[in-house]
């Protein structure tokens, strides 16, 4: 029985994809927000208005509408800086997404500071956007990648080898704030990310944080985090696709050089030389995703007015606890992750069923209207912790109602029993 929708402050009303699908017969249960979230109505409206009104490109035209567009674009950069506690809007680089942001760090900074024999520390739980990137950069720079393992009992990063690793020439420590498979926000308890950053900082390494799974689920404060770079995507916040943010601490700018060249990033060009602009503009060659940045402005405004991250963390954690309690008693269900931490500050729960493949479960759940993710979630190395089995991942967001989770638990139970009956 589907009960009246209750979400955090009833925020689901701001997501047209959910409102439009509210008829129970065609109800769409969105449990794949960790991949991409439903889009906020204010962002859609702002982008529609932008496209329907006179506008120009940024930092180029001198006519009034182009000047206005430039002002709006830079105001959003400023709002983004405030959202993550950056000291200056010059520390905010717009990219095409978190993957692009991380690649930008690697190519504009790491490639210039890594020497043969230097080390890069990552964790086993990194998304491929981080893992593969640093493998490739290490090859190019003749550097080494050191992987901090995931403890198979706690599903947390094992820091026991960190002190030994930091005796080597570690130049980069690149880690996720929240694994897209395992879930908890690793800065919340002050025991993992904080320790890792503090020790790595003391050893002189630059700190790169992948905040793709954190940005919409906890407060980000780059000063408190003490990171040098931080990357995230806007579509995971309820904004448009095709836009990401890279925070680059001012003190790192001197070590960074552009790796994409074109209009908008140069200061002067002659037939035999060029100079480029100061950051962030020198890292935004070509016409940027202006409409998406306008959409981001509306997203940030929405978060400022409606989202209390303290409440949101507790709410999503409550949904995780509800889901875990509902499925853990089903025979054969194995939860991949730390249930206790997920029940304090999680938003994703990954699991598998003995004898039934994750794809089969996910396809069956789809027939019940539940959208979940199945597979290895672009994070192959972490699946080695549980023998490389594909998992089903469900993710919750501000618009998920407890009644949705109840429906999901029921659908999971039905799906498993249906497969058990024929296999």
């Amino acid at each position: 029985m589907i009960t009246k929708k209750h979400t955090l402050k009833n925020l689901s009303q701001y997501f047209p994809a959910l409102v439009n699908a509210s008829a129970e017969a065609s109800r769409r249960y969105c449990f794949d927000s960790a991949a991409t979230a439903c889009t906020l109505e204010p962002a859609i409206t702002a982008m529609k208005q932008f496209y329907e009104s006179a506008h120009g490109s940024v930092h180029r035209g001198v006519y009034a509408t182009a000047e206005h567009t430039t002002q709006v674009y830079e105001q959003v950069r400023n709002a983004t800086a405030q959202f993550i506690g950056a000291a200056s809007s010059r520390e905010i680089i717009f990219t095409s997404g978190a993957t692009d942001s991380l690649n930008t760090v690697a190519y504009v900074w790491a490639r210039h500071i890594l020497q043969p024999g230097d080390g890069i520390i990552i964790t086993q739980a990194e998304h491929h956007a981080h893992y593969v990137l640093w493998q490739e950069i290490a090859k190019e720079c003749k550097a080494h990648v050191y992987v901090l393992p995931i403890n198979p009992q706690t599903f947390c990063v094992d820091l026991s080898g960190l002190d030994h690793l930091l005796t080597k020439s570690i130049k980069v420590v690149a880690v996720t704030m929240s694994s897209n498979v395992l879930g908890p926000i690793w800065s919340k308890d002050g025991v993992l990310l904080d320790r890792l950053i503090a020790k790595s900082r003391s050893a002189g390494a630059g700190i790169v944080l992948d905040a793709a799974q954190a940005v919409a689920h906890t407060t980000l404060d780059v000063v408190k985090l003490d990171c040098d770079f931080l990357a995230f995507s806007i579509h995971k916040m309820g904004g448009p696709t095709g836009l990401g943010v890279l925070y680059a601490r001012t003190s790192m700018h001197a070590q960074m050089k552009p790796y994409r060249f074109g209009g908008g990033m140069v200061a002067a060009v002659a037939s035999d030389f060029m100079t480029w602009q100061a950051p962030p503009h020198c890292f935004e060659a070509g016409t940027p995703p202006i409409a998406q940045v306008v959409g981001l402005g509306a997203v940030l405004d929405f978060y400022r007015k409606n989202v209390d991250f303290g409440e949101l963390v507790a709410y999503e954690a409550m949904l995780c606890a509800q889901f875990i309690a509902g499925i853990k008693t089903i025979p054969g269900v194995i939860i991949v992750g730390n249930s206790e931490l997920l029940s304090r500050h999680g938003h994703v729960v990954s699991w598998y069923v003995e004898g039934i493949h994750a794809h089969d479960i996910a396809s069956t759940l789809s027939s019940y209207g539940c959208t979940v993710r199945a597979g290895d979630h672009c994070a192959h190395p972490v699946s080695e912790v549980w023998n490389k089995r594909a998992t089903v991942r469900v993710s919750f967001f501000m618009y998920t109602a407890p009644s949705d989770v109840e429906y999901l638990i029921d659908a999971v139970r039905k799906s498993i029993y249906a497969w058990r009956a024929v296999l």
Binding site: H357, H359, S367, A374, G375
Partner: protein, 124 residues
Amino acid sequence: MNGAMLVHDELLDHYKFPRYRKVIENPHFSALTFNQSCGDRISISGRISDGVIIACGFQGEGCVLSQAAASLLMEHIHGSEVAEVRKITAAFMQERIGIAVGPTRLRCVLLALETLMQALEKNQ
């Protein structure tokens, strides 16, 4: 069709009782591939005599679709001329499994065929 599971009895039968699940010794063709979206793997090996596949087998782990499709494919190619086997298309496999799937699940269905084609290509 089994309700919400979207598979039919023949697929379930091939999944539960796979044909040709074996490794062929001293193979003339063999390959191993992975499904990039879930890490599932299929390996295929076989022997050829006078242009005909006289032995074939697969190994692997995966969902009902990937394993049943591999079993169906082995059954289809055993005793067939290599030249004919090379002409097997994705559309044939889609039709053979008898259910409609989206592009991501289609990778599961086609994993065995891709492996087979790689194996034959390598051993040309």
